[in-house]
C-alpha cells in the first residue's frame, strides 16, 4: 500500500520541541498538503493552523496536526473568539482555545481585532469594530481575560476593513497601539490587510506603517486580495486569500522587513487552495526577502556597532 498518509505514523503521545517560531517563512496548513509538507525536502519554517479546526474531540485532524507539530514549529491563529464582542467573550470557547494551546504548545497564539458573534449567532466573518473609547476598553478587557486563561500573551492582527464607523474617535493605528500598550499583547501585522484597508479608506499604506508600533510585531501575514468597486466606481479591495500575494504588498513587505529585520512571515491561502508547490513558491519568495534583508540588517548592525 502506497496511499497510507504519512501522518498516520504520528505518535499521539509525542513530546514537542521547536517551541519558538523562527524568523522564516511559514504557510497556513491545509489538510490536502500535509503529506507533501512532511515529505518535502524543503523544510518550511513553520506552519499555522486555525484553532477552531482543531477543536473537535479526536480523529484524523488531531493525528495529522500531531505529526506536523512533531516536525515543525507551529503557530495557532484563532478566528472565532470575537474579541470585539459587545456582550462578553464565550468562556467555553476560551477554554477550547486553551486546550488546543496546551496540547500543541505553539510558538505564537494570535487573534483578530474583529467580532464574529452577536447574541448567539456566529457569522463566520471578521467584522469591524468602531475605534472609540468604549470599544477600546472592552477589547482590552477581553484580551486580558484571554491572556489570563491561556497564561501567555497573544498577538493581535490588524483588520482589513471596507467601512468606517461615524462614531470612531481615533485612528486604527492609535487604537491598536493603545491596546498593545495597555494589555501587553504583541501584534500580528497583516500587510495585505494594510494595503486593502488603505486602498479602501483612502490613506497611504506607508503612512499607516509609519504609525504602526512595529517594535511590537511578532509575526507578519501576507495574502492575496481580489478587486471590486465601491458605490462611486473606485477600487474596493477584498481580503480574499484566494491568489498569490500582490506585487504592491511584496514591496511593502520588503520595506517593513528592511526596517524591522527578519520576522516570522506567514503566507495565507484559504480559498481556491492551490497545490503545495504553489504555496511553497510564495513562501520561498518571502524567505528570499528575509534572507536579503537579514544580511543587510546584520551588516547594518555591525556598521552601527563599529561606528
Amino acid at each position: 500500500m502506497t496511499d497510507i498518509p504519512t501522518w498516520r505514523d504520528g505518535n499521539a503521545n509525542a513530546d514537542f520541541t521547536d517551541r519558538t517560531i523562527p524568523a522564516r517563512a511559514g504557510a497556513g496548513l491545509k489538510p490536502s498538503h500535509i503529506d507533501q509538507i512532511l515529505q518535502d525536502d524543503y523544510r518550511i519554517g513553520f506552519l499555522e493552523v486555525h484553532a477552531e479546526n482543531y477543536m473537535g474531540d479526536g480523529g484524523a485532524p488531531h493525528r495529522a496536526l500531531t505529526a506536523i507539530r512533531q516536525n515543525f514549529p507551529l503557530s495557532v491563529h484563532g478566528v472565532g473568539l470575537s474579541i470585539g464582542s459587545e456582550k462578553g467573550l464565550d468562556e467555553e470557547h476560551i477554554a477550547r482555545l486553551k486546550r488546543v494551546v496546551d496540547r500543541y504548545e505553539p510558538g505564537l497564539v494570535s487573534e483578530h481585532l474583529a467580532w464574529s458573534t452577536h447574541d448567539t449567532s456566529y457569522y463566520n466573518d471578521l467584522l469591524p469594530v468602531p475605534y472609540d473609547r468604549a470599544t477600546l476598553d472592552r477589547v482590552c478587557a477581553h484580551i486580558e481575560r484571554v491572556q489570563d486563561v491561556l497564561g501567555r500573551t497573544i498577538i493581535l492582527e490588524n483588520p482589513s476593513t471596507y467601512v468606517q464607523f461615524e462614531q470612531s474617535s481615533m485612528s486604527e493605528t492609535e487604537f491598536i497601539s493603545e491596546i498593545a500598550r495597555r494589555t501587553g499583547c504583541g501584534l500580528l501585522l497583516d500587510i495585505n490587510n494594510v494595503f486593502v484597508s488603505a486602498t479602501n479608506q483612502k490613506y497611504r499604506p506607508l503612512t499607516y506603517l509609519s504609525q504602526f508600533p512595529l517594535e511590537k510585531v511578532e509575526e507578519i501575514h501576507l495574502a492575496g486580495h481580489a478587486t471590486d468597486i465601491d458605490d462611486e466606481g473606485d477600487p474596493l479591495l477584498i481580503d480574499a486569500h484566494d491568489r498569490p500575494v500582490d506585487d504592491e504588498v511584496w514591496k511593502l513587505y520588503d520595506i517593513v522587513i528592511g526596517q524591522m529585520g527578519p520576522v516570522p512571515t506567514l503566507i495565507e491561502w484559504d480559498n481556491d487552495v492551490p497545490e503545495w508547490p504553489v504555496l511553497r513558491r510564495e513562501a520561498l519568495r518571502a524567505e528570499g526577502i528575509l534572507e536579503k534583508r537579514s544580511a543587510n540588517y546584520l551588516l547594518g548592525s555591525r556598521h552601527a556597532a563599529a561606528g
Partner: protein
Amino acid sequence: MPRPDNIGDAGESESAVTLGRFSGALLDPGQPTPAGLVGPNGKKADKRYNVYRNNVTVGLIGALFDIYPAIHRLVGDEFFRAMARSYVRERQPQSPLLFRYGGDFAEFLERFEPVRELAYLPDVARLERAWLHAFHAADAPPLDSAALAAIAPEELADQRFIAHPATRILRSRFAAVSIFSANRSGADLAGIDPGNAEDGLVTRREFDVEVRSLPGGGAEFLLALIDGGTLGEAADAATAVTQDFDLAAAIGAMLEAGAFTAIATRD
C-alpha cells in the same frame, strides 16, 4: 495620519452603530445599510457593507457545502447554493465551530417545498451529519475480539458494552445508506430503489469513517446494546422483529465495525 475624515469626539452618541444593528442587516437583503457606516470622504457605504453581507452568506453556504457534499451532488450546484442561502437566512451557526453548523438541515429539507419529491434527502443529510460527527469524535480503541472470547460462554448473555464515541445508527424509510454510499464513491443511483427502507451503522475504528447497512434486526440489536442492555436482551430485541436473526454474524459485524470500545465492567 490615516484617520477617518469624520474624526471628532462623537463619543457614544445615539447614532452609534451597535454590533446588533451591524449584524441585523447582514443576512437580510431587504434592510438598508446601517446608518452610521460610511466610506472615506463621505463616500457611500452600500457596496462596502455588502462585502460583509457577501462574506457571511458565501462563507456559511460554503460551510454547508463542506458538511453535506452528497446533498450538494444530488441536487446540483446551483440548486444547492440557492437552497443553502434560504437555510443560512433562517439559521445561523450557534458556535464558532463550523463543523457543528447545520444540525437541523435535515429538518429544513423536510419542509423545503422544492425538494419535497426527493423524500430520501433528509435521511441522506442525517447520514452525512453522523459521518461528520464520527470524523471528529474522540479517539477510542475498538473492542478487541479477544476480550469477548475470554468471557465464559454461560456469562456471555449478561455482558453489556460501552459504545465507541463515533458510533451512530440511522434508521431510514428510504435507501439512505445505498444512496449515500453510491454518491460518496462517485457512482450514480442506477439500480437503487429509493423506497427500500434501510438501517445504517456509522463507525470509526481509527481514522476512517465507515458506513454500512444493517441486516434486519441489526438496528434493534445495536440500539439495545448502546442503550446499555445486555447481549441477551439485545438478541431478544432483534429476534422480536426478525425471527431468523443471526446473532453470531451480528456480533462478528459489530466487532469488525468497531461499534463498541469495551465490555462494561460489572457493578
